[in-house]
Amino acid sequence: MAETGTYLYAIAQDLGRPLAAAVVGVAGAPVHTITHEGLVAYVSPVPLDEFGEEPLRRSLEDLDWVGETARAHHRVVEAVSEETPTAPVRLVTVYTGEDQVRDLLRHRHDDFAAVLAHVTGRREWGVKAYAAPAAADSPAEGESVAESGKPGTAYLQRRRASLRNREDVWRRAAEQAEHVHAALAAASVASHRHRPQDPELSGREDPMVLNGAYLVDEDRAEEFVAVVDGLRGQGIDLELTGPWAPYSFTVLDLGTAGLEVLDDT
């Protein structure tokens, strides 16, 4: 039988009861909890022949595997965050055993409590802005030039106009994105800008000019969405995603420092 590790999904405020519905994690294993003084860790066992260091190096190069794992991880985080304040843990965090997770909760109790207090009653919203496609580029103008009888020249002129136009569109969009981000930051408790997605990954040809995340009080969500709607147009397309678990606002880097303490237990 393969050795198992402990996959950690999230740290949350202890509900004092199980989740409303059982949830299945990565590798098809049911998720269970480890609790310590008001904190709860959601974990599941994973086979180390798949989640050990060497196999992981290969798996992480496989986008399908990453996608499947990300969705399973997300499913657990979603289920938990719908019921209690949650700090998601970064994708693929595997402990050698449950005792180590328990120790993490014990030694980093105050850090987690602070992070959880920050996100309590709040949700994350994502807003992406794209430079709106250059509508009605310049074909009309081009046609009239074409009639002058020099199609080659007309083509180049059209081409130039088109590039210039695309450039203007992008510049205006980038400026507008700054304005949008400032307005959304003002309408939220905290904000974070992710790197704009490459067109090949975003699936849209239009350049992304903003990939923002905003932490919003639950009872002010409608207000926030209204602010987003009010910012639409003006050279950019806005895409709203969420609400998300507060992934972008629970960044907490627990390096080896906390774990060294384990030695004297």
Binding site: L91, Y95, G126, L163, P196, D198, L201, V209, A213, Y247
Partner: protein, 103 residues
């Protein structure tokens, strides 16, 4: 001189877009790989130790782009504006300047 045989839109359309499911995955990976609690150390294995996903995604982007003719239109003189914007915001500029014309 052939200034441009394949406009950007056509080039991208020809490749086909990523399916909707994957598009959402990208939003998810933004968060799962850049957000959340990071633990690393002897008793744990984490992305912090194996920083390959980023490399993998970058490889994906690069490989897709390498076969792409996007920025190849080296238009005559007047249209140097394209470059200025690159300098302003490289991350979201319309196209990398260093691709050269595919032959």
């Amino acid at each position: 001189m052939t200034p441009d045989r394949r406009p950007r839109g056509a080039a991208l359309a020809a490749q086909g877009r990523l399916p909707a499911e994957r598009v959402a995955l990208v939003d998810l990976l933004d968060r799962l790989l850049a957000g959340g609690v990071v633990v690393s150390g002897d008793l744990v294995l984490s992305i912090a130790d194996i920083d390959l996903v980023r490399i993998s995604l970058r490889a994906l982007i690069t490989s897709v782009r390498a076969s792409d003719t996007i920025p190849s239109a080296h238009p005559p003189g007047a249209v140097t504006v394209v470059r200025t914007s690159e300098a302003t915001t490289p991350a979201s500029a319309p196209g990398p300047p260093d691709h050269g014309a595919p032959r």
